[in-house]
């Protein structure tokens, strides 16, 4: 009896937290394979390296859960970042620079939101259009050139608060915000409901358009912050920066169990997804795997992680169904 109970608890853990299991196993393997992996510095490095993409991924998580996505986040990041850097070089005000990044990014996302809600453009197309427009605007503004000599601006991404590097602090705060929104607010519930079944959500009295707009605005704030951290980390205003980051962010969210069919996903899962990719990239460089081979391995592990996650979850639903049918006898 006791063992079967243990088995049940174990299988519960396995299915509910399957992606964390993948992460834990990967962590153990990495620690064994290379002695440099398990050091405070290296782990802090990984966290810093994934911070920008992870912050974007939190925005994506909220959007994907509500049945949308944002292909423009990499480009909007670059636009918000170069505007912010350039405002800083003109005014030397960190606060103003920070606000400019967020405002620019939120404006882009409001346009995304309007295209989706008012004009019923599919989010894929709306944000694809924004991706091109924002990149173009960033290049136009800088004339294609990087902005250097950005002085104290680097404090955003290279400084530390209580000994913790600022990118990690930002990432942690945004993790908490995302978690709180999804778990403890009406907005979060509505986001899940809309992604799960938009018509039913509407028929439950939820203002679908308003919620979608809010999701984009929150995404905008996150992308703006990511833009500041990115530019500060590379010590320059780079209009060509963060190309393809929207896909890295989508990858992290999806590995973390966010479902593209909508209605499913968590902030902590996305964090786990981002760390899986982060660990993998790190260990392959540490162990000096051939750079072409790295791409193959990265793709394969991503596929395997998601396959395992889906497999573990299907098993769970089947068992649950079984329980209920057994109960109703």
């Amino acid at each position: 009896m006791k063992t079967s109970n243990m088995n049940k608890i174990w299988s519960d853990i396995k299915s509910k937290y399957s992606i964390f299991l993948v992460l834990a196993v990967l962590f153990i393997i990495c620690s064994v394979v290379n002695e440099n992996f398990l050091s405070v510095n290296n782990l802090s490095n990984i966290s810093r390296q994934i911070s920008v993409v992870t912050i974007l991924a939190f925005g994506q998580t909220i959007l994907i859960i509500s049945g949308m996505l944002d292909l423009s986040s990499g480009s909007v990041l670059a636009l918000a970042g170069v505007l912010s850097v350039s405002v800083y070089t003109m005014t030397e005000s960190l606060l103003l620079a920070f606000l400019v990044a967020i405002i620019a990014s939120v404006v882009c996302n409001i346009i995304n939101g309007l295209m989706v809600t008012k004009y019923k453009t599919p989010p894929f197309i709306a944000t694809l259009a924004m991706m091109t427009m924002a990149r173009g605007a960033a290049l136009l503004y800088t004339n294609g050139q990087n902005i250097y000599q950005i002085g104290d601006y680097v404090k955003f991404g290279q400084g530390s608060i209580l000994g913790i590097p600022t990118p990690i602090v930002f990432m942690a705060i945004i993790l908490l915000v995302t978690w709180y929104i999804l778990k403890h607010t009406v907005l979060g519930r509505s986001v899940y409901a809309i992604g799960g079944n938009e018509e039913a959500a509407n028929a439950s009295g939820i203002n679908v358009n308003k919620i979608k707009m809010k999701a984009f605005i929150i995404n905008g704030i996150f992308v703006g912050i990511a833009g500041v951290i990115f530019m500060s980390r590379v010590n320059g205003g780079m209009p060509n920066g963060a190309i393809g980051f929207e896909f890295h962010a989508l990858t992290a969210a999806v590995i973390g169990g966010t479902s593209f069919t909508g209605g499913i996903g968590t902030a902590i899962g996305t964090l786990a997804g981002a760390f899986i990719v982060g660990f993998l990239d790190n260990i392959m460089v540490l162990t000096r795997v051939n750079s072409y081979l790295q791409q193959i391995i990265r793709g394969a592990i991503i596929a395997l992680a998601v396959i395992y996650d889906i497999w573990a979850k299907t098993k769970r639903t089947k068992r649950k169904l079984g329980n209920i049918e057994a109960k109703s006898k």
């Binding site: 000599q149 920066g241 990239d281």
Partner: protein, 331 residues
């Protein structure tokens, strides 16, 4: 709702007008010219690799500035958007529009070769640049030799890098002509001659600063001793240096790049970076315009030249800082 749409449309319109200023403006200036001077004004199409590529954008800007010095030449800039098909279409359009000369900065030399050949066949003066497409009958070229650019660094590195050193290598995108030629040069001119030097890390950072940072962060975890950073461009060298700028273990590290960007010359001035070689967009642009002029006016029929790639180090860096200051890239 309508208000928003209006704001959005107006914003787009303004943006497109601003964007439009860059090329048609030169066109208008040009059309005014012939009536005043009565001389023939030559129309030149400059097909850039990508306006989104910072060196390519710099070069395009330099070409435009340089063209202003010539009364008889008008240059229209076209953006190849880092895409072979876009660039090929632009070349075809330029042929159809009967430009007097076409300057091609290829995205991928081999992919643009047949189109460059088409331009030659149409009797249009064709110049390839950065990088040149070799062996097109009747075409001219202006380039900086990537092998040479890396070599000037490798030669000094032979002396500077200590015995049994550990080095890390940052590469550009695989398949890129400049990326491959620079790496090849380092191999032949340095690594083959210095078997004692050990490569403790070699990764593709795609010319990008942020990717180079990520690799360097990991390398310094695994290696307490890294004596030199060998990067195929300045962006990646700067990225690697960004990681270790406050790390006392690496205060003596050597770092080599290529391009001579504003950031790199500042780092050399600070004494953080060791050397780079200049791939000067200004030098390329002036050579391009000079070559175009000679070919268009019939002084010569075929020219192949390489611009110099001078080494920039602590001793001569002031000169290059001045150059960037004049261009407005450094304050």
């Amino acid at each position: 709702m309508k208000k928003w749409l209006a704001v959005f449309l107006v914003a787009t319109l303004i943006m497109s007008m601003l964007a439009g200023c860059t090329s048609p403006a030169t066109n208008e200036e040009g059309t005014g010219e012939p009536e005043e001077s009565g001389d023939k004004v030559y129309r030149v199409a400059y097909v850039a690799r990508a306006q989104a590529d910072s060196f390519a954008a710099w070069l395009a800007n330099a070409v435009k500035e340089e063209a202003d010095k010539y009364d008889n030449i008008v240059v229209d800039i076209f953006d190849g958007q880092a895409s072979d098909s876009t660039q090929n279409a632009l070349i075809e359009n330029a042929i159809t529009s009967k430009y007097d000369a076409i300057i091609i900065q290829p995205n991928n030399g081999e992919a643009q070769r047949p189109y460059a050949e088409k331009a030659v066949a149409a009797g249009i003066i064709t110049i390839t640049t950065n990088a040149r497409i070799d062996g097109i009958q009747g075409a001219s070229s202006v380039d900086a030799d990537p092998y040479e650019q890396a070599k000037v660094n490798a030669v000094v590195a032979l002396e500077q890098i200590p015995q049994n050193a550990n080095v890390v290598v940052l590469k550009g995108p695989p398949g890129n002509f400049h990326a491959d030629a620079r790496r090849d040069s380092w191999q032949k001119e340095f690594f083959d001659k210095r078997p004692d030097v050990k490569i403790v890390g070699e990764e593709i950072a795609n010319w990008n600063k942020d990717e180079a940072m990520n690799y360097m962060e990991t390398w310094v975890q695994a290696n307490s001793k890294i004596d030199a950073i060998i990067a195929m461009n300045d962006n990646m060298a700067a990225g690697a240096l960004e990681v270790i700028k406050d790390d006392s273990r690496f205060s003596e590290i050597l770092a080599y790049g290529v391009d001579g960007t504003a950031e790199a010359v500042l780092l050399i001035e600070e004494g953080v970076m060791t050397s780079t070689s200049l791939q000067s967009a200004y030098a390329l642009a002036s050579a391009l315009l000079d070559t175009s002029n000679k070919l268009l006016t019939g002084v010569e029929t075929q020219i192949d030249i390489d611009i110099d790639c001078p080494l920039i180090n602590k001793d001569n860096v002031t000169e290059y800082i001045e150059m960037h200051k004049r261009a407005g890239a450094i304050r």
